[in-house]
Symmetry: C2
Subunit: 120 residues, 2 copies
DNA sequence: TCGTTCGTATAGTAGACACTAAACACTCGA
DNA sequence: TCGAGTGTTTAGTGTCTACTATACGAACGA
């Protein structure tokens, strides 16, 4: 679960190779040294900081939250949302843990509905 | 918002003084040096690591998630939940951001209801 | 006034985090 | 065969995190 092809490094390498971008070029695109990127891609170094992970996701049109999760991180933006309502969000996350994507989708819609009602 | 009486440090000091516990004793209770605790309480040092924050919350019967939030942290447990379903949770958190405690409570109940149905 | 307890100031540290530069070995087209 | 490109190895570095030990000055009780 760390050196196979679903690891962060392997994923980045696959993403990069899909478009035949060289290591040096991609490193420049995302703002890091080729050396570092090489090590990161082989999981020899831990995943980089949030901004680099985002840059990688952006460069390849991937979902940033997902790539961040693979990097073992939670975006600062989401952390901030939780910090604003820690008890409520903590309770919710524990309650929602394990629900399927469809069920989560229902809750998202419910949340949006509640929010819209506020503007009434 | 950092040196007033709602800061992490000031909160810990208040919590400690409420029961007239000395700095040295409390430091020992939560497993840190008195020196460090003193600085933390005056916000001269940043809040400690998650386990210490939890120890403080436990020692004074406070909500750990809330104290962690005040410490600018999100518990590793919650981060893990998000990492398991990053897209869904990220979407939800953004959608739910700004809802009131009551509205969040409704979503928690909905989540619990959905989960119960699964066992059917 | 001595001993104890209080909080504080000073000065440091081990270890992790997030990287970088330079040099290297290999391959491949011209 | 050479030079231009590929990825990799070696050997670091500066900054931050999360603390600690020792020593200090003030107050208080016996």
């Amino acid at each position: 679960m760390s050196n196979d092809d679903s690891s962060f490094g392997a994923t980045v390498r696959r993403l990069r190779n899909e478009k035949d971008i060289g290591l040096r070029k991609f490193a420049q695109m995302v703002g890091m040294s080729p050396t570092y990127l090489s090590k990161v891609e082989r999981d020899e170094f831990a995943p980089p900081a949030e901004d680099k992970v985002r840059a990688i996701a952006d460069a390849r049109g991937q979902d940033a939250d997902e790539l961040l999760a693979l990097a073992g991180r939670v975006s600062a933006e989401l952390a901030d949302i939780i910090k604003r309502h820690p008890r409520e969000m903590a309770t919710f996350l524990r309650a929602a843990n394990g629900l399927s994507a469809e069920e989560m989708q229902r809750l998202v819609e419910e949340a949006r509905r509640l929010k819209k009602e506020e503007g009434t």
